[in-house]
Symmetry: C2
Subunit: 264 residues, 2 copies
Amino acid sequence: MEQIKVVQAWRVKDGCREEITDPVIAEAPLTIYFNERELVTLLCTPEHLDELAVGFLHSEGLLAAREDFRSVRVDVENGLVWVEGKEKVLAGQTFLKRYITTGCGKGTSFYSFHDTTSQPVKGNVKVSPETLLELMRRVQQGSELFARTGGVHSAALCSTDDIVLFRDDIGRHNAADKIIGRCFLDGLSVEDKIFLTSGRISSEILLKTAKAGISVLVSRSAPTALAIEIAEQVGVTVVGFARGSRLNIYTNPLRVTEQEVAGS
Amino acid sequence: MEQIKVVQAWRVKDGCREEITDPVIAEAPLTIYFNERELVTLLCTPEHLDELAVGFLHSEGLLAAREDFRSVRVDVENGLVWVEGKEKVLAGQTFLKRYITTGCGKGTSFYSFHDTTSQPVKGNVKVSPETLLELMRRVQQGSELFARTGGVHSAALCSTDDIVLFRDDIGRHNAADKIIGRCFLDGLSVEDKIFLTSGRISSEILLKTAKAGISVLVSRSAPTALAIEIAEQVGVTVVGFARGSRLNIYTNPLRVTEQEVAGS
């Protein structure tokens, strides 16, 4: 399925109207079946659908570990994907429901199933601000879909040297789930990796990446107060507004090292 | 509940690190109960929660008309809202499920419940490109939350003269639902109105606004191919990339008039 569709449009610029052809980003529904049960329909950029489905299920706590997974089958044409897990793992009433836990120490209302299974992250990357800004530049330049259509968010899993996995999607949550799904399917370690996103850092992105075990989350945009609060509890380093020559570190700042000194 | 929380952060700029206090946008879960049944938890900017809940239910087809609505009650502190509708209207298995209709003429896979109830829009606004660009400037300048935190999307319902309703939220869908909810609660006519959003025009935003009866949808960002396709079917004018002195018209271009001539 094509990721870009060329449409007819009319451009008005400084009062002049002209007919143009314009590339716009594809958007398609993907319905996920888990253990033969219809679970949810996402709207996405229709590629890497196996990753998206598996990443989504992992983020939602329905595929907790690799051994819970059996198979994934995609019908690209009709936007359907079937994931099979261990029979005992069922998409039950917990899905999309809110859980308010008591006694969590800080009075936070945890709001969904996967929150309650979040553990402090184990990764302990050390990375300089210059490296983060250089990686963000590459992520921004790396999306051909964005350059052509302006209609996608990008996400990247990076080492402290380079981009390891890059995905874009009309939804920033989907881009994250595609990366998480690829790591899950390939058994790729993320504890030594950094996650970069073009979108804001909401609690959902924070929880998705923390649950996957990622300890450094970087955005060129803003974080929310709830994302910062959860990041403090699960030990994630949140970096926002990483653009040009500046960035803000919101939590766990020691993973972002001081300026590299020449010759060190 | 405060919309902004001031946090401690570290700003790194051109290699220098300094400790700052930074205002970040609040994010809170809102759990919607419809006819005493827990339906869904949204993450939002915690204001105008009655509008958000009612607008969401209307967009999802669960509160089709004003006479289906009985009451709304909000617990701001705990992020809970209870909406009562006519007893016969139940949040059944249709919610969040995908519907693939056959025989819809163009081979489109309709993907959710509200699609199947979408009717062609009735509104027939005429507006000049200059007016749309001026309204978009006001929307961009109108968000104090964006100016302070960079963390919200804005949406506005406008006449051809000015902004009538303005809402911002961490989620662009929520901002739209808040406006739709206010119109629903007040019985405000939208057929002569224009809807502006800072976010992309996805199929979801298109369907929400079309279902509400809005005929002109304007964004400073990109539309998706699916949004354009549905806009053609339901008769909505889609305008994208409305920034500075330019914009692109994607569908039903006659509602956007030619340049206004001095003295006309």
